[in-house]
């Protein structure tokens, strides 16, 4: 009999892809859950709704998106409902690189957070605290999840590169970009679902030798045809993140309320948190994911090729307009 797997946050980028993968595998019978537009409609912060949805499931994948409160409340509800079940289901819980705070250098899964945590990072950290050392919970800490359909790290960055608002960031882009392709994240979920209880723990997910943000932005820009890449001055990054980002964010929220989809057509903001991330020289060590989950990483070249196919503007497929034509 196929295992019944509940995917929370099933309409998000990761949740959708996890659901698709489970549907096409021969051992799972997945059920997608979300506020709207999924097999099951529920509010994941509501324990009673969750309890009903979790009846008879042998595993839950927690991809719930939202603000800090939603993230923490839904995790709390999930862990408590699961704890009360006769046979606690396997939970694959999504955490994040953000739990390491302002740490730099090589970090493995045992590293403690350093400095200030972002609101998102603090929420994810709290969910990990709630999970505790529960042998039924496998926590995944992906870095920058990219790939076709990834609005945040692929669509947004593509738009900024094509607008030449990002590019070569100089000293502002020396941080490491702990990239992981969505396909590899999905594979990690599939493997985590079947991991023996004795092996359940947290896993970093990232390319083992990540590029710097500068290197990544240059390669992504080249794949998108957003060349020549512009050098972005530190002055401009400061201006973008401190003066322009707040009104852009407000406009985005208003637009989102007025008409669905409108916000996506507005220029993307470059918030201060993103500028800080570009500088953060943190590299996630991923030995455990390789050894215990047996993960192999899709090379950046291939991941970028797939991603750029989705975001490369049609006009960029023709030869560059400024190329020289011999007389």
């Amino acid at each position: 009999m196929k295992a019944r797997v509940l995917v929370l946050g099933a309409t998000g980028f990761i949740g959708q892809r996890v659901l698709d993968a489970l549907r096409s595998c021969d051992w799972a019978s997945p059920v997608g859950a979300s506020r709207r537009g999924a097999d099951v409609q529920l509010d994941a912060t509501d324990a009673e709704q969750l309890r009903r949805a979790m009846e008879g499931v042998s595993a839950v994948v927690n991809c719930v998106l939202g603000n800090s409160r939603t993230i923490v409340d839904s995790a709390r509800a999930l862990f408590s409902v699961a704890g009360r079940m006769a046979t606690p289901p396997r939970i694959v819980h999504f955490s994040s690189l953000a739990v390491y705070g302002e740490a730099t250098g090589d970090v493995d899964e045992s590293a403690a957070p350093v400095g200030r945590l972002s609101a998102y990072g603090a929420a994810k950290f709290e969910t990990e605290r709630l999970a505790g050392a529960n042998p039924s919970i496998v926590t995944l800490r992906p870095g920058i999840v990219y790939g076709p359909g990834g609005a945040q790290w692929s669509g947004r960055i593509a738009q900024l590169l094509l607008a030449h608002r990002l590019g070569d960031l100089g000293r502002g882009g020396d941080g490491y970009c702990n990239l992981v392709l969505i396909d590899d994240v999905v594979e990690a979920v599939l493997r985590a679902l079947r991991l023996p209880t004795t092996e359940a723990r947290a896993f970093n997910l990232s390319l083992p030798d990540p590029p710097t943000w500068n290197e990544y932005l240059l390669r992504y820009a080249a794949a998108l045809g957003a060349v020549p890449v512009s050098r972005i001055t530190q002055r401009r990054l400061r201006l973008e993140s401190t003066l322009l980002a707040p009104p852009q964010k407000i406009a985005e929220i208003i637009a989102g309320r007025l008409k669905p989809g409108l916000a996506r057509r507005l220029p993307q903001a470059i918030p201060p948190s993103l500028v800080r991330l570009f500088r953060q020289e943190i590299r996630m060590k991923v030995g455990l994911a390789e050894q215990i989950l047996g993960l192999r990483w899709t090379p950046l070249e291939e991941g970028l090729r797939q991603t750029a196919l989705r975001y490369r503007p049609r006009s960029a497929n023709s030869p560059a307009a400024n190329s020289y034509a011999p007389h």
Partner: protein, 589 residues
């Protein structure tokens, strides 16, 4: 971390595995290589984070002929970042032929080939923020790019090689945050090395004496030392440390400070191209990574060999600015703007000599008559140079009349009579000031004369246009502004023969087991190429060598307690080189 000697107690002793003297292009490149390793590094920088006049004054010295060489405190900066704080950013590697022993270039030949440097060039390029290591138009561009002159094809000159431009990257501004963050690398500011103290046998560097301008003095001990200053200061430090070896360190055969080379450069002739202006492109192409790249005419290696010429490159250039007869508003604007252009760039731009009042007025008239052009140019310089982090590298003026001159940059031959020595006058710290006696040879005149003639012939035979110049005036043009500023080469050159060289193929002083040099001082010949990229490549190569060296078990000769208060780590034995013979370490990478 970056610390300041002003904050340390007088008489303090600092200790490290590797001590790097000088935090310029070479020093910082090396320090970054060591960051995050288990190797304790101390980098000494004579200056502070910004230019300081009293520190800069320590560079002052004298020149034998003021017409031939700029004052020694020009074109080099005694501050964090060194001369990268003012450099122009032109990057290009040395050519294969530069490393060869050529019978027509006296004292030529290196103990290594270009291939030994290639892996490090590939990494030096991005470090200088000059993009990938791709120096031909075909390698760097995946689209057709404009030729210099449509239809020009010469068996003597290639027009397909490129020069690439750094931002120009100020290594302190760009990498200072990494130096600050590195736990195992300490950068000490206001740390002027005043003596390299050898051990009694003279085979190993025991310690350094470091002083600052507030009267404090310090001792620095390390297992390995790297002299990573510019070419002039390398000679000065080696020559001034003469208590054990009376001729100075590494100077047993009187080679330190000799063979001093810059480059032979100038602008010559009047070129009129008989083709539509659209078939001439002497400006930049921008690579996908956003790097300004420019083609130039490069004398082919086969031609150099067959005609026995030194290395040579040339570019189309605007006519001489100082003469208002060009009737060009932009050129006159530049002439008038010379008052606000830094000295290092003004010299070759505005020309030498005084200007008559009538000439000034003619320049003003040119600007007034061509005001829109001048305004457009001023806007371009403001937007693409002044306000940009990646700066438009040089002034490019397309001539609607197809009138140009030829800007050349040629190899200078090594010449033992061209030298840097110590003068009698001491600086504020008691260090003897340098005296520069730069000389060129008839071979240098010959390289430029015959190369220019070859190009003029090519233009004529291929009906490109006319290239008028005075063959008897070549020597005057190539020395009009003296030695090319800022390229200080050869004062501690690399070689296998101790009689005519100072360092071996590992950049280590022949006689001293633990003293290395990362500097253009080690270049055995000067190439046509600007030196910075190659300096950085050698620095990366040396860092790799030192890592191997330090990873090896070392004989522990002396143990000194760590007296370094700023460093809380437990005392650690000092690793010192065996005193027997430094050549035990002479393994070429």
């Amino acid at each position: 971390m970056i610390i300041d000697s002003y904050d340390l107690p007088d008489g303090h002793t600092l200790q490290a595995d590797v001590c790097i003297i000088g935090a310029g292009a070479a020093g910082i490149a090396m320090a970054l290589e060591f960051a995050g390793t288990g190797i304790e590094v101390l980098m000494l920088e004579a200056g502070g984070k910004t230019a300081e006049s009293d520190t800069q004054a320590l560079y002052a010295g004298s020149v034998a002929d003021a017409r031939l060489h700029s004052p020694p405190d020009r074109y080099r900066q005694r501050q964090l970042g060194g001369t990268t704080t003012i450099w122009g950013g032109r990057c290009m590697p040395f050519d294969g032929i530069d490393f060869e022993a050529r019978d027509y270039v006296p004292h030529s030949g290196w103990p290594i080939s270009r291939e030994a440097l290639l892996p490090y060039y590939a990494r030096a390029n991005p470090l200088c923020e000059a993009g990938e290591f791709a120096y031909t138009a075909d390698e760097a561009f995946h689209r057709p790019t404009r030729p210099i002159i449509d239809g020009f094809a010469s068996s003597h000159f290639s027009a397909d090689t490129l020069e690439r431009f750094s931002c120009p990257t100020d290594f302190a501004a760009r990498y200072g945050h990494k130096l600050d963050a590195a736990q195992n690398v300490r950068t000490l500011l206001h740390a002027n090395v005043t003596r390299l103290q050898l051990n009694a046998a003279g085979r190993s560097l025991d310690h350094l004496i470091v002083r600052n301008l507030r009267g404090k003095s310090f001792t620095v001990r390390a297992a390995q030392f790297v002299l990573a200053t510019g070419g002039l200061e390398v000679a000065r430090l080696l020559l001034a440390s003469r208590d054990i070896q009376q001729q100075g360190i590494g100077n047993e055969h009187d080679a330190v400070g000799r063979y001093y080379m810059c480059h032979i450069a100038g602008t010559i002739g009047a070129i009129k191209i008989d083709k539509p202006p659209s078939s001439v492109w002497h400006g930049y192409e921008i690579s996908d990574e956003g790097i300004y790249c420019r083609r130039r005419f490069a004398l082919r290696e086969a031609t150099q060999r067959s005609l026995k010429l030194g290395n040579f490159v040339a570019r189309l250039h605007h006519p001489r600015i100082s003469n208002p007869d060009h009737r060009n508003a932009v050129l006159s604007l530049l002439f008038l703007a010379q008052l606000i252009i830094p000295y290092e760039y003004r010299v070759r731009l505005a020309g030498a000599g005084s200007t008559r009042l009538t000439e000034w007025l003619e320049h003003v008239r040119n600007v007034a008559l061509g005001a829109p052009d001048a305004a457009g140019f001023a806007w371009h310089m403001l937007r693409d140079r002044k306000l940009a982090e990646r700066k438009f590298p040089t002034i490019i003026i397309h001539s609607k009349a197809n009138l140009y001159s030829l800007d050349f940059h040629a190899e200078q031959q090594p010449n033992p009579l061209s030298r840097v020595s110590l003068g009698a006058e001491p600086d504020a710290l008691g260090m003897p000031r340098i005296r520069v006696d730069w000389r060129y040879t008839s071979g240098d005149v010959d390289t430029v004369s015959r190369s220019v003639a070859l190009l003029a012939d090519d233009f004529r035979l291929q009906r490109i246009g006319t290239f008028d110049y005075d063959p008897d005036g070549v020597e005057a043009e190539m020395t009009r502004y003296g030695a090319f500023g800022g390229h200080h080469i050869g004062t501690a050159r690399m070689g296998d023969d101790r009689r005519s060289s100072v360092v071996n193929a590992d950049c280590r002083i022949h006689e001293v087991g633990n003293l290395f040099i990362a500097s253009s001082a080690t270049f055995a010949t000067s190439s046509q190429a600007n030196p910075t990229l190659t300096v950085v490549a050698f620095a990366l190569r040396l860092a790799a060598h030192l890592k191997t060296l330090l990873a090896r078990p070392q004989p522990r000769v002396a143990t000194t307690a760590r007296a370094d208060a700023s460093h809380g780590a437990a005392a650690k034995p000092l690793q010192t080189e065996p005193v027997v013979c430094g050549d035990a370490l002479c393994e070429h990478t």
